[in-house]
Symmetry: C2
Subunit: 315 residues, 2 copies
């Protein structure tokens, strides 16, 4: 009988799905598996796609996936949900997509959501990408909604990041400037058959012209109408261009990769430390009791944390 | 000479500003200060305001602040930036606002941004709220952009959360459903003089009618035109209503407060653990070396983390 590692390396979808569930739940065996497969990763082009809700990212991702499939590539898709504090659930849309695409053996699609405060969504997403990479998916698309730190962390680990905008987002372009703007290697203006596309393009060009990238790349702006499959090839070409550009940069690209690796080590460390602390330093019931003390202002949270740290013995 | 604690308690703006800088930088003296002032917190109504970029949140916050000022309240405003991985900078708009409002002695406005991976933006924001609370600001408004985990964490610590939408966000309302929808105690449809306001209101009503809140509250929908100061009073009244409602709930409200306190303890713990680990387990140069090994796939990040954990001695 083949090991889970071997089944993943041979591209077995069921094993890949199970392994992703294990990383989502941060199960101990997931860490061992990830150690085993790590040497088999690094072959995929990882594409991060982000932008405001309603920009049509999902449709664009589907079109891009179909484009890669037609070119004979294996495509993994990870749709990262904004975390819901109440349901922790996946977007309805993704569930529908999963049913439609699940019949293609060359596509693996998975929706991921944070699971409460031990979540580590960014960490779990990066691990899931590694599993798909090892499983032979040479195009991995990570789709994420929003402009929060979690989303930034997720796309930071991508080789190429596409920011999706829609016409008439003048205000939004301004507001998003400080956040998402600077992480886009490629910009897509989707729904480009709508009014205001030229104005949005002009505003975006202006913003990009005053931003300076340390790698010297000028992010291209691609107009797409995902619902009509228009602009998909241009988008794929722009993604390939940036991947090529950064591949040619040598040492500078190494710097980016080292930053990404450092970030990943820190995220893993953060999660492991908290897990260890909650296992060794305090029981669930004790934590609840301490939280109650803090809520009633009988104690302050800072000295509570001092106490937990002391119990673990690393003070 | 008065202590920093006493100066904060007497409402000295400069001391409050310095204390917030200290919590942003996670300086050790900040923790001591927070312990000292903790018993003086819990008096403010903390209002979280969130929604997509471009929804007009800043203007709405300004109007609400002016409304509270007219009623004789002291108003603290914290504008939480989506983190920029490149600049870490604050939104330009906030800087302009700060200049306009800084002349009113009863308003304290501050922009906060994440500072890299040790950031702990949610933790720093909650600490800053505590400082303003202790400083006598009895209305503290926390304004945040986006739908990421960081934003959710920030508003989770608020007494009342307002989600701001704009007309014509049909798609967005659907897409945001899983995230932001469920954290709104009050919904504001801003720019309500625009076309499509009734449709947005109807869609929102439908969504709210199928969502069930454990506290039995039905979130009101308030139409505002912040630029014309229309709807501000209704919004303030809705905020006060929910605060009253939850105050009357007794034990159930305690549960919410205990959850918030538990979350806060965990966030503080997470940050302290990582800081300790990076101080004790690995130097910056060693971390860079390890990251380089991982980037080149000479080592996997999981066993690197094992090693760091072992060095700290809590394995």
């Amino acid at each position: 009988m083949k090991s889970l590692k071997d089944r993943i390396l041979s591209g077995d979808k069921r094993s890949i799905g199970r392994a992703i569930s294990a990383v989502e739940d941060a199960r101990p065996e997931a860490t061992e598996l990830l150690k085993d497969i790590f040497a088999h990763t690094g072959k995929a082009t990882v594409i991060g796609i982000t932008g405001a809700p309603g920009a049509g990212k999902s449709t664009l991702v589907d079109r891009l996936a179909a484009h890669y499939r037609a070119a004979g590539e294996q495509v993994g898709i990870i749709a990262v949900d904004p975390s819901s504090p109440f349901t922790g659930g996946a977007l309805l849309g993704d569930r529908i997509r999963m049913q439609n695409m699940a019949t293609d053996p060359g596509i693996f699609i998975r929706s991921m959501a944070s699971r409460g405060h031990l979540g580590g969504l960014a960490r779990a997403t990066v691990d899931a990408v590694a599993i798909l990479d090892a499983g032979g998916y040479n195009r991995v698309i990570v789709e994420t909604v929003g402009v929060g730190q979690d989303e930034v962390d997720v796309v930071r680990a991508a080789d190429v990041t596409v920011v999706v905008l829609v016409p008439g987002m003048g205000d939004e372009v301004q507001a998003m400037k400080a956040g998402i703007m600077e992480i886009g290697d490629v910009f897509a203006i989707n729904k480009a058959d709508r009014e205001g596309v030229l104005r949005t393009e002009r505003e975006l060009e202006t913003l990009l012209s005053i931003s300076e990238r340390s790698d010297g790349w000028t992010p291209p702006i691609i107009k797409t109408v995902a619902t009509e499959n228009s602009g998909t090839e241009a988008l794929a070409a722009a993604i390939a261009d940036y991947k090529q550009f950064i591949g040619d940069k040598g040492a500078q690209a190494d710097g980016r990769r080292i930053n990404t690796a450092e970030h990943r080590i820190i995220e893993l460390l953060r999660e492991r430390l908290l897990k260890t602390a909650l296992n060794k330093g305090v029981t669930d019931a004790q934590l609840r009791e301490l939280a109650s003390d803090v809520a009633e202002r009988r104690r302050d949270p800072y000295s509570v944390v001092d106490e937990i740290i002391k119990r673990i013995g690393i003070q």
